[in-house]
């Protein structure tokens, strides 16, 4: 059937739905829903890791293969450094830029290496906002409790306390650099309510929050003349005789040469794993989100935390085909957008946490109340025109210009027509275990941002990622810089690789996988041809 014909039910039921209030699920029902429908609980998608710091811990098949994968670097590679620096930052997204700026500001020599361009990251796409408790009726403690509840009480308390308490000073720093957060009429910061949060706490720059922050941070990195190595993908870390981190080896993606960087400390800000397409899910992530930092740290002996849990954002686009997996911001639901099944019914409180909302969408679709596209995808409606009905014409266009434009390019006016959505692989809840200075159990190896784990527990709250990047980017940068003066540059070896390889052999690993992946293999191979002999 034509998409417009199917959308009629959404228009027809709108007024009736507006009268309705849906309570959140009681905790038992919520747990059962998640255990039955959330992809994290699909046992066949998981297996134990066979060796290394997280031996016998379960994770998804796609990640397990990469963690056990072999390095591109030989045991006796030439490790003469091309560059020497105090602090080496790997990754050019939000956490990487924040780390580089703070380390530089504290007086350290900094090199920032990134496998694509400076700023190419998930951060640039963050639309929903940044949670910081600035409203008078809110507090850092409430922010802490909301996050803990959303993370199923599994969050690291110390990391979380640090994040919520440093939030306001981060906002001040960003404003000082020229970030244009939305304001109230009285000049105070405008705050929006996000899913799973009890108080309005989201600072926004319309629906371009990540883009605005990244435009400014990138510009600042350039203004500060921080040395940048673009199109350089980290392929291995370096360690000294004590197993402390002393640098990294890169592959220059332009000329395929190896680049060795000696550093007193290394900050991995390499982001998430969406492009591994775990369990076949489409993803909202950027081109380079292949979990490189996890593989590199794991081979060095860094322990990972919560790597069995991923966030499937409730609203990934399902139609049109070209936008599959692209994010439809949670801001739509924050402003009252309903989720509607094929029968025209709501089925979940739209402002529940992401894992609950995603599970409920999967339930609707598996129980036959979804809408299917001819390419075999299925989804439910997100009633975007409701926002104009509720708050006046022009609301969608004014508050969600990025999303309006994205769909307009394919002839869809989301202020008039609802959009079809289904959960999309969005975020790695866990990652490399860190302390409050963002350091791992490997000395002088820091991890910041999505690549790190513990802070978000088993489900990250909307708007907590941008804050995570800024707070732990800063902490890693400051700590690494503070060590530079007293620390001698350590020896450059790959002894950790020899240990890792011995371990792999003992466990009969010959999968032939080389990690990190660097970029997903989307290039279509030439179709097989039959040849004569």
């Amino acid at each position: 059937m034509d998409i417009h014909a199917l959308q009629q039910i959404v228009h027809q039921t709108r007024d009736a739905r507006r009268q309705q209030t849906l309570p959140k699920f009681p905790s038992e029902a919520r747990d059962q829903l998640i255990h039955t429908y959330h992809p994290d609980y699909r046992a066949s998608a998981y297996r134990p890791i066979r060796f290394g710091p997280n031996v016998n811990d379960k994770t998804v098949l796609e990640l397990a293969a990469l963690l056990e994968g072999d390095s591109l670097i030989a045991d006796h590679a030439d490790l003469t450094p091309h560059y020497t620096t105090d602090v080496l930052v790997v990754g050019g997204g939000g956490a990487g830029c924040a780390a580089a700026l703070h380390a530089h500001g504290a007086g350290a020599n900094v090199i920032l290496a990134t496998k694509l361009r400076l700023g190419d990251s998930n951060s640039v796409m963050a639309q929903g906002g940044m949670q910081i408790s600035v409203a008078p009726e809110d507090s850092p403690v409430t922010h802490f409790l909301d996050t803990l509840k959303g993370g199923h009480m599994q969050n690291d308390h110390e990391l979380l306390k640090v994040m919520v308490e440093e939030g306001p000073s981060i906002a001040k720093w960003l404003i000082g650099l020229g970030v244009l957060f939305d304001r109230q009429a009285d000049g105070n910061l405008h705050v929006k309510k996000g899913g799973g949060s009890s108080k309005p706490r989201l600072l926004t720059c319309s629906d371009y929050t990540g883009l605005e922050i990244m435009r400014v941070l990138k510009d600042e990195v350039l203004n500060q003349k921080i040395q940048i190595l673009e199109f350089c993908a980290a392929v291995e870390l370096l360690s000294d005789d004590n197993g402390h981190c002393t640098g990294a080896i890169f592959k220059d993606l332009d000329n395929h040469r190896q680049v060795v960087v000696a550093a007193k400390s290394v900050i991995l800000a390499t982001g998430g794993i969406g492009r591994l397409h775990i369990q076949g899910f489409p993803t909202s992530n950027h081109y380079g989100a292949t979990g490189d930092g996890l593989c590199l740290s794991y081979r060095m002996g860094a322990k990972l935390d919560h790597i069995d849990t991923f966030q499937y954002h409730p609203s990934g686009a399902v139609y049109p085909e070209q936008l599959i997996g692209a994010l439809v911001t949670e801001g739509i639901r924050s402003e009252g957008g309903h989720l509607v099944n094929a029968k025209g019914e709501r089925f979940v409180n739209e402002l529940d946490t992401r894992d609950v909302v995603s599970s409920s969408i999967i339930r609707e679709c598996e129980e036959g109340r979804g809408i299917r596209t001819m390419s075999g995808r299925v989804g439910v409606w997100l009633d975007t025109p409701l926002l104009d009905a509720e708050h006046g014409p022009g609301t969608v266009e004014k508050h969600f210009p990025a999303m309006m434009m994205q769909f307009e390019r394919f002839g869809i006016d989301i202020s008039k027509d609802p959009v079809l959505i289904y959960p999309t692989l969005h975020y790695q809840n866990g990652g490399v275990k860190i302390d409050t200075n963002s350091e791992t159990n490997v000395k002088n190896l820091f991890v910041a941002g999505e690549a790190s784990g513990g802070l978000h527990g088993r489900n990250r709250l909307m708007g907590n990622s941008l804050l995570d990047l800024m707070v732990f980017g800063k902490r890693s940068g400051m700590t690494a810089a503070s060590r530079a003066a007293s620390l001698q540059q350590g020896k450059l070896t790959v002894n950790h690789l020899q240990r890792f390889r011995a371990d792999a052999r003992k466990h009969g690993n010959s999968s032939g996988v080389i990690s990190p992946m660097i970029l997903p293999a989307y290039t279509r191979k030439e179709p097989e041809r039959t040849t004569n002999g």
Partner: protein, 236 residues
């Protein structure tokens, strides 16, 4: 019709599997109709390193020139946000060597005057409007440059909130202005110098420094798992 059949959306581009002829950097290929420009590159066996970034229309890495069948007009798009059609011809734009001025945003004395030192070419706009036509985000770039020159920084910062810094406005400028970089400077100056300091934020920072939440922290952090879970449940 069963309930299930009733809820199926037709997608002509998926149903038909029609192949179309396109040109990539002047070379002819056959690709399925309706896939994105970036997917057409992958489909034709090309490795993509430069020219792809967020794949969501936000980073500007995949700025592309294209032309549709028999139309002489060369247009611009983001390759991850554009579907291919029969007869289309396109080339991904290489990085353009625009000059970015370096500045310390926080210590600027007179940001509106400083614009002319940092970007002396900005007032030389000859009104050709090519930048506006080149913008895949539909920003009125030319108007923005003039507003910047006349000191209306607030309007510029609002107009350029959609800017993904793809830089397509730059190679077309006959006055060698890089409008996106000018606008970035102007927006940052607007935020850092001409926007009210939020009082509530200052208050909150001071409250944290003064330990206003200390007692509550102590109480919450001393709770055992069960107590904490019960306490969380009361927060609504």
């Amino acid at each position: 019709m069963t309930q299930e059949d009733a809820n199926v959306i037709d997608q002509p581009e998926v149903l038909r599997h029609k192949m179309v002829s396109i040109e990539i950097s002047g070379k002819k290929y056959e690709v399925p109709e309706g896939i994105t420009v970036i997917k057409a590159l992958w489909y034709t066996g090309q490795e993509v390193v430069r020219g792809a970034g967020c794949l969501g229309g936000f980073c500007g890495a995949c700025a592309t020139y294209y032309r549709t069948k028999d139309d002489p007009k060369v247009r611009t798009c983001l390759a991850c946000q554009m579907a291919v059609e029969d007869g289309m011809s396109f080339t991904i734009m290489p990085p353009f060597p625009a000059r970015k001025a370096l500045y310390d945003i926080q210590t600027l004395k007179d940001p509106k005057q400083e614009l002319f030192n940092l970007y002396p070419e900005a007032p030389l706009c000859r009104n050709c409007n090519a930048c506006t036509e080149a913008c895949p985000q539909k920003i009125d770039v030319r108007e923005g440059v003039w507003k910047a020159v006349f000191g209306d920084f607030k309007s510029v910062s609002e107009m350029f909130m959609d800017c993904v810094m793809c830089g397509m406005c730059t190679p077309v400028c006959i006055a060698d202005i890089a409008p996106n970089l000018v606008a970035l400077y102007v927006s940052r100056a607007q935020g850092a110098h001409f926007t009210e300091k939020p009082q509530g934020l200052e208050t909150r920072i001071k409250e944290i420094q003064d330990g206003r939440f200390k007692e509550e922290w102590n109480r919450v952090l001393a709770m055992n798992e069960k107590e904490l879970a019960d306490h969380c449940a009361t927060v609504t």
